[in-house]
Subunit: 186 residues, 2 copies
């Protein structure tokens, strides 16, 4: 395997705000050539959850997403906050806060990157089984959320037909179904 890694010679922050951190790196390639600036987006770890009830329903959320300027279906998801003990704890908190559902059966199904060329972080993907409603979803005026409970087969069809466009969520659904031995390659 050839060494393709760049060496960072210099680095500075261009933009730091609540939801975005842009870093500009001056990089040297193995060929000696310089790339500058190369912008990377620094984020904390993210989490998402494929949450299944005992009846094979999936707990989803419908939210406005301003990048695409569309209100779309997605998995319960969020950011690992400093007060979360672990990505798993963050996943349990996000599921509870966004949907009111909880479970004792969480399993990590894999880790994905929104874009390894630009994003520094990974998304920890979980599958939770036998989830049950235990509380009322948090009401957050800056992030209104609609709860959607949908049979797994229908969620699969939504993903295939582009109605679940977030790639981290489609990827997580795929990983969850493989982890549950529900998806088979022929």
């Amino acid at each position: 395997m050839r060494n393709f890694a760049w060496t960072i010679r210099k680095s500075s922050y261009i933009l730091k705000d609540r939801w975005i951190t842009v870093r500009a790196d001056s990089c040297e390639m193995p060929s000696g050539q310089t790339i500058e600036p190369f912008y990377v987006l620094e984020y904390p770890a993210w989490v998402n959850v494929v949450a299944l009830t005992a009846d094979d329903d999936v707990i989803l959320v419908r939210q406005y997403r301003h990048g695409l300027q569309e209100t779309i279906l997605g998995l319960p998801s969020g950011t690992v906050e400093p007060e979360d003990a672990s990505p798993l704890a963050a996943a349990k908190r996000e599921l509870r806060e966004e949907t009111g559902y909880a479970s004792d059966s969480f399993m990590e199904s894999g880790r994905l990157s929104a874009n390894p060329a630009t994003h520094t972080n990974l998304t920890y993907c979980y599958v939770a089984t036998d989830v049950q409603p235990i509380t009322v979803p948090r009401m957050d005026d800056t992030e209104p959320i609609e709860l959607v409970v949908m049979p797994l087969q229908a969620v699969f069809e939504q993903a295939v037909s582009g109605k679940l466009p977030q790639s981290l969520h489609v990827g997580s659904l795929f990983l969850a179904l493989v982890a549950l031995d529900r998806l088979h390659l022929t």
Copy 2:
């Protein structure tokens, strides 16, 4: 369905460079509350290709990705350039340039977003069958690429075990296998 959409009241560009465009929006939510600034990342459409040979091998590339600072496996992929007649044309071009492979059998398997909250663009996912080597991959010093030809079953296992971490690629692999009727939910 409740209306969650934000209205953009003001918009300006914070950063425009070769590989990044950051726009700052001042937005009004349905509740009347203002969010500002909300940063979005403007990109042109992206494409990727699950390219299968007649022998069920997948054509992959190994590249350094500076966000994660790792050299990783991925699908042939890229940006729809102004000179591309369509996303399909861009996908054919990227496959040929990055790997030297081509095919007459391309099918769109779906469209995904790297992150609908921040990214304005979609990624057009394609599956190409009966691909064959027809030329020498382009040598690009700023983006050295290693060609990897791998049986589909092994690629599936790589995706499941985190060795194909780009969510747009895992999502595209999932969509391709469903489109080819090779993946079944039980």
